[in-house]
Homo-oligomer: 239 residues x 4
């Protein structure tokens, strides 16, 4: 049973049963691994349940976040040992036009000492970028907007983006929809995504799997990376 099933209604289940089993969309030959918004303010500095953690870090996802980070360690190792390029995105600091015109977030971290607050937008150490890996800053939910990510994917001939990070219902979902729009093969690694709302986590995995991506287990993702191995470099032809 997939984790989203308890959230579906009886009508939803009857509807899905009528339509029959879903066929995988499939991945391509030249993937990258995209790690989305895994920075400290979404898990906190200490491993605590979400309802504890938000007392210090209002945007924290708590233990679900740390569990996903722990799983991401192995996913990253597999990508790197197979020569799959790893790309990180996180928030562009100092951009004045707030994402989504959200109000009420100003000073959310004002209660924290400056040296703690400085870690908010820092990528979590356990899964930090290695030298030479691309780290992009974004000013919206999707990694594809307002960033040169699409340029890089075309330049490298990448046809498949395997995504993980947080939140499942926010930046991961927005990135996956755009990747699908732009006609990349999209994958989502279930254990390596997390959210601050359980229902949103599971229903967004369901939605992405139905419409835009293949939601796979960490084991499936690693098997895919190992099957592909190092990507082939495209060869330029002079006119």
């Amino acid at each position: 049973m997939r984790g989203w099933e308890p959230f579906l209604t009886a009508q939803d289940k009857a509807h899905l049963e009528y339509l029959g089993p879903r066929e995988p969309k499939g991945f391509g030959e030249n993937p990258c691994l995209l790690v989305i918004d895994d920075y400290y303010s979404v898990v906190g500095l200490v491993r605590e349940p979400i309802l504890e953690s938000i007392k210090t870090w209002p945007g924290s996802c708590g233990l679900e976040g740390w569990a996903a980070i722990d799983e991401t360690v192995g996913l990253l190792a597999a990508a790197r040992s197979s020569g799959i390029p790893v790309i990180y995105v996180h928030g562009l600091e100092g951009f004045p036009s707030s994402w989504g015109r959200r109000r009420g977030n100003a000073g959310r971290l004002d209660h924290l000492p400056a040296e703690v607050r400085a870690k908010a937008n820092q990528i979590i150490e356990e899964i930090a970028p290695q030298p030479g890996e691309l780290v992009l800053q974004k000013a919206a939910a999707s990694a594809f907007h307002g960033t040169p990510l699409p340029f890089h994917l075309t330049y490298e001939g990448i046809d498949t983006v395997i995504a993980c990070g947080e939140t499942t219902s926010g930046c991961v979902r927005a990135t996956v929809v755009d990747g699908c729009t732009f006609r990349y093969h999209m994958g989502v690694v279930e254990e390596c995504c997390f959210d601050r709302t359980q229902a949103s986590h599971w229903l967004n995995l369901f939605d992405m799997n139905q419409k835009y991506a293949d939601v796979v287990t960490k084991t499936q993702a690693i098997n895919y990376f190992e099957t592909i191995g190092p990507k082939k470099i495209p060869i330029a032809v002079s006119p």
Copy 2:
């Protein structure tokens, strides 16, 4: 109580309660109404429950769809009588690079007579565009990608997009996320959106309301249109 609450877990409810009531994001001064993908293949030609309707139209949302269409009639009338521009989007026919690389959809309507099948991508008559209203074709979920919609919004000085249509979890959600990314004030009219999965419908309304938009009732949307009235035309200044 909002319709998404029954889908939330106990932890989700405790989390939301801790964060406190959500403040509206707010609308701007120059809105448009965007009607997304309200064509026949998503409701069928006959008003039937979804589990009946999908026997003829596999993509049908059934009675939930027709209920939303009925509500949209009044929403459109209010927009038009207040001078709010109405824009429609639906699928670009004949584009060869299938949206989301979905497989297994070919021939889904092959069992239908040609004259019935021809109605599949036709906008539903009860809410059809009036002469002079803009109708755009898109090749992805979001109305903002691969279309000149953003050009038109800037040209007209529009700062707010009030969205409705189907599916809540598909093209409506994708459009609302992008509109927010591009820094438009986004609204979603609850009664005028529909989906083929009940859980997805409600959780996507929840997600949009939390992150990207104000999910409002039809009455609130109409009140807003009437408050705004006809938009002001920007005046050009010669150099």
Copy 3:
């Protein structure tokens, strides 16, 4: 000598000589041919010098246009016989937000009988699309904006766009700059581009060749198509 040299100043020539010969940027392995805005209103229905032709068709490029169309016939034949996909773009009719907020163009063709005017936006018969070839409509200079062209290129794994059409300084230039921005290998076929201003034609070929593309002869383009032959279809891998 390249055709742009007579337009360069003495300082420009000294500067270029100091920098030394320009190395080709190179093409990739999976090209398409993009035919931009070759419709009747930019050449007229009759082969006349530009200063005659504009009396009927104010946007006409005259004999330079027809010469480029004649060359394009052979370019298309070579692409097709080598299995290189051909894509056409031309203007989206009826889009209300005029491109570039240009004034003074309304009614430019009002003096023409309706049946003649109807040919204005029609692709020129000698180089018309063949069944199955993609024809996209655009609402701006560049073929990459407000259209699903980038989706299609990614979907097909295309890495190189060989461009031709009109005007060299308008839609061709804008498309080539964007293609380069999006990290496609870009080519421009010199004999198959045309403009209504001679100086703009040559200087834009120079600019594109310096910065964004390889400006090649028709013979070079045909040789490249024949070297590449039919593109390889990427193979999907299931997760």
Copy 4:
């Protein structure tokens, strides 16, 4: 006489005369000033003629560059004293997918001491950003691609972009074409743009003025800024 006229052919002049005088496209009510790529490597650290300057800085535009920088000082002062927001763009350092797949540029500055080379991508001191002004990094010619600039313009309700910087035929031109595509009113300040090729400088001003923008003098731009004065802040309306 405009500076591009000596570059036009006899046919070009006859053609333009037949079409008659060009009407200005016009500016809007809420402009910004966009300063494009004015960093040291395009003028050098010392004011020298281009053919001298390129011996140290191969990308230098020499004295034409410094002349434009000097004019930009007054343009910036006028914008600031009128409350017109100023936005800067320059190159994103360390992005691995080179712009336009250009070859042969690697190590262009290798002959310079590290502390000199460090100034290459630094904005020129005389026209440097003031605290609070937005500085964006881009990975392509146009300021609109791969950056959150369009988000910010919509957020601020900006309808007009007055551009200056370098090169006229490169990043200025690409930005102006995109701004026009996205339906902003575009202006170009003639004295504040510069290029390393004289013919390209003048013909690109001509092209932009014909198709995409109003190319104005510094005095015209300052008059426009003073007419507009501080921009009006849009007022949000709650649903």
